[in-house]
């Protein structure tokens, strides 16, 4: 397939392109170029189309019959049929199977339902900020951004507190599978062929082993958590298989943890970079939701997901054939000036629509945990404002990945603004 014009002098597969965060100039150039951008085949892996404008991300997201999550991989590189089957969780499936799986858990994540978790989230927020304040600072990621979301999702999944650290570690290694230096194949005593594992990571097999043991515990003594609910659930009269449960568990832990953590890490940098916006919200808490939404748009924690074309079609002026790979760059669509006024400005007065695509472009795979993530961010921000916390930070270490816009470490110092110094 021929591309229109010469390709830009970068390879979008290369994690180095994202080493300092979202490459705004590059994406602006791709958005301004008519048609879809073509990345040629590389190292035997087929080339792919890049979708960079919001309208087209939404079009692809809302048409799973044409743009499938199931017939190919949802990451940019291809994997074989048996690997697809071994890894599959609902995120890798199309309706109607996807719909049946998602409905096993979706009622726990509606905006109304997540309000029930507010108090527990606030307690976790307070505990992490207490710890940070005792030392006057530390690694924001280790002390705040990582423990809050993993704590919340582990509570939902019935995972005991003592195991949260282990699951953070495994989840981090999954992301490392998208970096230039993945784990050795035999890490965590792994004996499974790496190509069968999500992110080609041995940590995925450790996560499955944890899920098996967790399931065994909960079969003995079920709780009111989502894992117990999944183990008791039946689809067409059949319970989930151990592999299906493990894949479901892994998806929930990974998705509930890495993404919100990333948004919370960026939040600390936004607080210093955009003091006017943060100050306005500190003074008017009605704007907390708008601030959380802008943090999510601006950080775009997941850079992209891919779909595979099922039938000949046309998108954004480019003709696509069945089997073509289409990569939706949320990190680009969220800065599309056709959709957002002055997209590089950080603003808390944006209109409610169009919705950014950091939770996905809509459709069946729209982020299940969107309302939970928003609530976690709002509770963190509200508590920071209550305390009058002022953050300064050193140089962030970015996660080495072409898939997530993550922050590995962020050294911060924390003080209280003068009118808060007398409070505890």
């Amino acid at each position: 397939m021929a591309a229109e014009g010469p390709p830009p002098p970068v390879d979008l597969r290369d994690p180095a392109v994202f080493a300092q965060g979202i490459p705004h100039d590059l994406f602006a150039e791709l958005r301004a170029t008519p048609g879809l951008h073509w990345s040629p085949q590389h190292d035997g892996d087929r080339g792919f189309w890049s979708v960079t404008r919001l309208a087209e991300v939404v079009e692809v997201s809302r048409d799973p019959a044409t743009y499938s999550s199931e017939v190919g991989h949802i990451q940019m590189y291809d994997i074989e049929e048996d690997c697809l089957a071994a890894r599959a969780s609902m995120i890798d499936l199309d309706p109607p199977v996807h719909t049946r799986l998602r409905r096993l858990v979706s009622s726990a994540f509606t905006p109304r339902h997540v309000q029930g978790y507010r108090e527990a989230i606030r307690r976790r927020v307070r505990a992490t900020l207490d710890r940070l304040e005792v030392d006057g600072g530390g690694d924001w990621v280790d002390l705040v951004a990582a423990p809050i979301p993993i704590g919340v999702i582990c509570d939902l999944m019935g995972v005991p507190e003592a195991d949260h650290g282990y699951l953070i570690e495994l989840s981090d290694h999954l992301v490392a599978g998208t970096s230039s230096e993945p784990l050795p194949a035999d890490a965590y005593g792994n004996t499974t062929d790496l190509r069968l594992l999500p992110f080609n990571s041995p940590a995925a097999s450790a996560m499955s082993a944890y899920a098996d043991a967790h399931a065994a515990r909960l079969r003995e003594r079920p709780g009111d958590d989502l894992s117990s609910q999944l183990l008791a659930a039946e689809i067409d009269g059949e319970a989930l298989s151990p592999e299906e449960f493990a894949n479901f568990f892994r998806l929930m832990i990974f998705a509930g943890n890495e993404t919100t953590r990333s948004a919370m890490s960026h939040l600390a940098m936004h607080a210093r970079a955009f003091p006017d916006a943060f100050g306005a919200v500190a003074a008017d808490r009605e704007l907390l939701g708008a601030l959380a939404e802008e943090i999510v748009r601006y950080s775009s924690p997941i850079l992209y997901f891919r779909r595979t074309v099922t039938r000949a079609t046309e998108l954004g002026g480019t003709t696509l054939a069945a089997g073509d790979k289409v990569v939706m760059w949320y990190a680009s669509a969220n800065f599309d000036d056709a959709a957002f006024d002055a997209p590089l400005e950080f603003r808390v007065d944006r209109p409610p629509t169009p919705i950014h695509s950091a939770f996905g472009g809509g459709g069946a795979h729209f982020c299940l945990g969107a309302s939970l993530a928003r609530l976690e961010l709002v509770e963190l921000l509200d508590e920071m404002f209550d305390r009058g916390l002022e953050l300064d930070h050193g140089t962030p270490t970015h996660v080495d990945s072409n898939f997530v816009n993550g922050i590995e470490h962020l050294p911060v110092t924390v003080t209280r603004s003068s009118d808060h110094r007398s409070t505890p």
Partner: protein
């Protein structure tokens, strides 16, 4: 029906229970915890302005306005 009031419907095939509708118009939409989809309450009448916002905010595009002839025919 006044021009400013419309009737709403939810496509049960595409609804993902995102719950935005319930948040914006709790008198008209409710997420049914057993079916795990949004269901329309009562006659589903909603102010057109709110209706358009609900349609915009629905992440799966499952909500639409019942067109007048549909409403007359389907009841």
């Amino acid at each position: 029906m006044s021009e400013d009031v419309v009737r709403m419907q939810v496509n049960p095939e595409t609804c993902i229970a995102g719950g935005q509708c319930e948040l914006l118009a709790p008198d008209v939409f409710e997420i049914d915890d057993d079916e795990v989809i949004a269901v329309v309450q009562g006659d589903g009448r909603l102010d057109r302005k709110v209706a358009l916002e609900v349609i915009d905010r629905c992440p799966s595009g499952a909500i639409s306005i019942v067109e007048p002839d549909e409403a007359a025919g389907g009841g």
